[in-house]
């Protein structure tokens, strides 16, 4: 019983420490399909969508996230600012999910243009592109803290 209490205390300490971490946005834009009524999304919700922990938009459409290549600068910026962790840590989390039978990672686009094409063609699509990318065919979401 004392061991469980000790572990519970350690757990609370670790969670408090980890929960205090924050991140700033910048260097990329979150894009969704033009028919999507959303105007902005909290960072946490975006992270959950890319980790497939949230699988439906508020209006009922299935979320269809698309990632970028692991070595790309935009993926690094997105991962650091939205997930609060580096790309490798997120890939490690996906490794665990895949082999636990708890899901597979989003497809990886090769470029901003591929992301735009995916999101424009899927009502539930969500992706991220470089800050300077042409986003005429999609809608840019505001990232809420």
């Amino acid at each position: 019983m004392r061991r469980i209490a000790t572990l519970a205390l350690a757990c609370a300490f670790v969670l408090a420490l980890a929960g205090a971490a924050g991140a700033q946005t910048g260097g990329f834009k979150i894009v969704v399909n033009k028919d999507n009524p959303a105007r902005g999304l909290a960072k946490g919700k975006i992270a959950f969508m890319f980790m497939k922990m949230t699988t439906r938009w508020d209006h009922g459409v299935a979320v269809a996230p698309v990632d970028q290549a692991p070595a790309s600068a935009v993926r690094a910026a997105f991962s650091r600012e939205i997930h609060g962790r580096d790309v490798e840590a997120i890939e490690a989390a996906w490794q665990r999910a895949v082999f636990a039978g708890r899901g597979t990672p989003p497809p990886e686009a090769r470029s901003d243009e591929d992301v735009i094409a995916h999101v424009a063609g899927d009502p539930g699509g969500i992706g991220y592109v470089s800050a300077g990318a042409n986003t005429d065919r999609v809608k840019v979401l505001e990232v809420l803290q």
């Binding site: 061991r3 469980i4 572990l7 519970a8 350690a10 757990c11 670790v14 969670l15 420490l17 980890a18 929960g19 971490a21 991140a23 909290a42 960072k43 946490g44 919700k45 992270a47 959950f48 980790m51 922990m53 949230t54 699988t55 439906r56 299935a62 997930h83 609060g84 962790r85 580096d86 490798e88 840590a89 890939e91 490690a92 989390a93 490794q95 665990r96 895949v98 082999f99 636990a100 039978g101 708890r102 899901g103 597979t104 497809p107």
Partner: protein, 367 residues
Amino acid sequence: MRCTRRSATVALAAALFGLAAASAAAAADFGEKVQVHGYGNWAYGKTDGNAYMNGTDEGNYDKLEFSLAVAAAPSPNVSVQAQIFVENDEEGAGASVDYAFAEYAFSDLARFRIGAVKQPFGIFTEIFDVGTVYPFVSLAQGIYGPAGFVSEHYVGAGLTGRTVVGSGWNLQYDLYGGEMESALSTPWAETGEDEGEADIMDMVGGRFVLTTPGMAANCGVSAYTGSEDARSEAGEVESHRQTAVGAHVEWFQGPATVRAEYAYKDDEVTTANAAYAEAAWRFTPHWQVAARYDWSKTDLEDGADVDGELLKHQDIGFAVDYFFSRNMVLKFAYHRVDGNRFTAADDEDEGQDDTTNLYTAGVSFSF
């Protein structure tokens, strides 16, 4: 014969090593409907006397594992997943099904699973042999060894789901029921059968895991209870209730990972306590060092007079890993073990030493 099998093992290990290096470890993706992933491990182990994990006194090259996982989503709410596991060890080669189940998602909060499903207990039961996600060649033996705590999978049905709690926290739950087999060694038994499996029937269990925003940390509790059928020395089948509970915590911060687990089990014949704490630090993109303290203690409820060393286990381990990439890692580890709960005499005609030193090296890959 032994020489031939060793040569075959080394050749196969070399082939797998080459496959891992050459493939750059990319998963096959057939559209988004079907994905194929896999992993493999090979390791050499040498001890100074007793056999322990993959190590033997004369050196053991035979720990070789490969697994292939397939996930398919035939419709938006239905997914089917299966994993085949092939291994070669000192006992020979064999194949098994790690899991094979279908899942129907009512919502994020409720997903129904049926079939042979990975048992959700603690941190690693669902990713038992995926060597690229943990720093040592093998998991802590107190909980994940042949201690009768956990199983590769249960056969039955379960419900799983997750929900957002507060601002970005995530609560995941699992509830399940069915049957499972758990690897169990009983070195104190007089029957001579010190390696076996415990069948846990009519089992119900659950796990709850709370994860922080950004998945920087998580903690969870697990439990199950069921009826274990055991055959007595007189040949009679006796039924015992086995109940196990556990708690775990993990913390990821930059290059550092810290995790700890505790588990307790009572099967009306024995009680067992086990715990470990492990810390790893990735000090360059390629190099990682890790340390682990692993402990367990078993008590016999009938107070039988057995060698106390057979009931206790303490393993202090150190590891150095070299990551070629997230998908391929070389591992070197040293373990100092006190107690004989999970060790065995290398030569059946000789007794065991109370302490064991294990040196092990291997490679793990996944794609």
